[in-house]
């Protein structure tokens, strides 16, 4: 029993509600939300430390013992995800202070930002399948509002599609819950895992596994279900796009990894091979989309898809090394992808456009921005010694060990195409003849770069300090591959 686990869920929720009261006091809203976000980051580190030292922490809500009540569970994976989302939460918030317009701020931007974080943290920490659905909805409803916030014509059109497809996925989540409840008679994930092991995972349970894969894949942007993503992430301002690009799809991936390392683990020949095939399609078609685009934000959005594929690849290979690689990759991706979206926001602030063909030669007036972008971009592509390299290395190494040469080949091709499209951005935006108007040449961008700097530093640190961080990922993977630890600490057996 550890009440600490409630903080990352309850704190943003309560603070968000309080912020509504300060509708017209923007400074107060900014201060309160900044303090909350930073405080939450501290708590996230503290929780991870406790989990690392004392093992998996659980809390039974209302004192109802599992499997009857709802439990919150923090294992290493969940608490690591809470840390990452808190980091992105802080950084995007500070970037939003600089870039979000007054009108948007006034219409409850910060409260919904806090609700979004509450939903994301809840989804990471919950140990109950229906509760996962509820937190998904909390997160999604906040995201519906943030994605349409501002109400431009483009945003309205694409948000409608985003909302419809997500509501559709949520309804099938309920259907999946109905099926699994009728078979196992429980909703506690640890208890479901025990029952599924008893009744053996065949026929109908495989069908349910695929249903959950479809539901989470739709939210996470897996191969045939990703078409909603690039258009809808193009609409909102960069601070929000960075938050969504860093976090939202990863919640779907988190749910896939959680269910397919805890519950549906008894027929990997079917389920995990299916995930592997989807991973290949996701990587390949995502990066092809990125290569075809000529817009900063759209290229980045398509890269989200191709990189979700790498994470699914780690799960599909289903060994300690591969899952550790996937976890390292998630950490790397959340940090780097948010940073890139924020760079996109910074260049948009300077040039007023995200169209690559309308920009050139920014390197002359803004050298710091240019070189920082380059570091982050090649980290995304996987150049050593930055963080992208080590995660891909682990995945590809394990792929070769398991003799899955085709998927290894695809992931290497995708790496090259990623490098190609990131260089395309760098060449179009920063090289060439300077085309800026005189008034745009000396805009103060240090306040914009300040929130991004910690992220760039983190990708360098994750790369140079790969040894301890990778061994931490190995421990996380070890915990994931031995579900008995999770089950025992929840059910107290």
């Amino acid at each position: 029993m550890n009440n600490l686990l409630l903080v990352p869920v309850l704190a943003p929720f309560l603070i968000g509600t309080i912020l509504i009261l300060f509708k017209n006091h923007l400074t107060v809203q900014r201060w309160i939300s900044a303090i909350t976000a930073i405080g939450m980051l501290g708590f996230a580190f503290y929780i991870t430390y406790i989990v690392y030292v004392d093992g998996i922490q659980t809390i039974e809500l209302g004192g109802w013992a599992p499997p009857f009540g709802i439990v919150l569970v923090a294992d290493l994976f969940a608490s690591l995800m809470v840390i990452l989302s808190s980091i992105v939460g802080v950084v995007c918030l500070f970037f939003a202070f600089q870039t979000i317009s007054k009108e948007r701020e006034k219409f409850f931007f910060y409260p919904f930002y806090m609700y979004l974080l509450a939903g994301v943290h809840g989804a990471f920490l919950t140990g109950d399948l229906f509760n996962l659905f509820v937190f998904f909805e909390v997160m999604l409803i906040a995201s519906y509002i943030l994605i349409v916030h501002g109400g431009t014509k483009y945003q309205l059109r694409e948000s409608f599609k985003y909302v419809v497809i997500n509501v559709f996925a949520s309804i099938f989540f309920i259907v999946g819950i109905a099926y699994i409840y009728s078979i196992t008679g429980t909703l506690n994930m640890a208890d479901i895992a025990v029952r599924v092991a008893e009744i053996e995972q065949t026929g109908v349970l495989n069908a349910i596994a695929v249903l959950f894969l479809v539901v989470f894949g739709m939210k996470g942007g897996l191969f045939p279900l990703y078409f909603w993503l690039p258009n809808s992430y193009f609409g909102p301002p960069s601070a929000i796009a960075a938050l969504f690009g860093g976090l939202l799809t990863k919640v779907g991936i988190y749910a896939i990894i959680r269910t397919f390392t805890l519950i549906f683990i008894h027929d990997p020949g079917f389920t995990h091979n299916l995930i592997l095939i989807l991973a290949g399609g996701t990587m390949f078609f995502g990066v092809l989309g990125a290569v075809a685009q000529f817009d900063f934000k759209r290229i980045l959005s398509f890269h989200i898809i191709s990189q979700v594929g790498y994470m699914a690849l780690g799960l599909g290979l289903y060994s300690q090394l591969a899952i550790a690689g996937a976890i390292y990759y998630i950490a790397h991706h959340i940090i780097v992808k948010s940073a890139l979206f924020l760079f996109c926001g910074a260049t948009e602030k300077i040039t007023g456009t995200t169209d690559l063909k309308k920009m050139s030669g920014l390197l002359k007036s803004y050298p710091v921005l240019g070189w920082l972008f380059l570091v982050t971009a090649i980290s995304l592509a996987g150049i050593p010694p930055l963080s992208g390299f080590f995660s891909k290395f682990a995945l590809i190494l394990n792929g070769i060990e398991q003799e899955r040469y085709f998927i290894v080949f695809i992931s290497l091709v995708v790496g090259i195409l990623t490098l190609f499209s990131m260089m395309k951005i760098f060449i179009y935006v920063f090289w060439g003849e300077e085309s800026l108007a005189e008034k745009d040449k000396n805009k103060p961008i240090m306040p914009l770069l300040a929130p991004i700097l910690p992220l760039v530093a983190l990708t360098v640190i994750l790369g140079i300090g790969a040894e301890p961080i990778f061994s931490f990922s190995m421990e996380v993977a070890n915990q994931l591959l031995e579900p008995s630890q999770y089950i025992n600490s929840v059910l107290k057996e």
């Binding site: 909805e137 519906y144 059109r157 694409e158 419809v164 949520s170 309804i171 819950i177 109905a178 409840y181």
Partner: protein
């Protein structure tokens, strides 16, 4: 009773699938509403019916209904109510901004 309910759910799902695939904004929203009703009924049906027995009449009663699915449905209904209200407003605003409720005119252009 279960068979009847499952047939009903099948009909609801097929009708809502038809509605979601139509070209009109409002019909898509109606389809989503129908689909969520279908999912809620499915949740209720799959936990099984014990006819004539109320949920939990004290610890001695031998037959009772499982109360959990009803609690789950209540939560799910509240959520889908909120989302539907939001979706209707969003659909209306989209209609006002684009002056059309035909989805094929909301595809967007290649040069954006």
């Amino acid at each position: 009773m279960e068979l009847l309910m499952i047939l009903l759910i099948g009909i609801i799902f097929s009708v809502s699938t038809y509605l979601i695939l139509t070209n009109s904004l409002l019909r898509v929203i109606f389809g989503i509403i129908m689909l969520s009703h279908g999912a809620h009924l499915l949740l209720l049906t799959l936990s099984g019916f014990n006819e004539g027995a109320p949920p939990l009449l004290g610890e001695e009663s031998s037959v009772y209904m499982d109360p959990l699915p009803q609690a789950l449905i209540l939560t799910a209904i509240v959520i889908s109510f909120g989302v539907t209200a939001f979706l209707l407003v969003l659909g209306y605003r989209t209609y006002r901004a684009h002056e059309t409720d035909k989805l094929d005119k909301l595809r967007g252009h290649a040069d954006e």
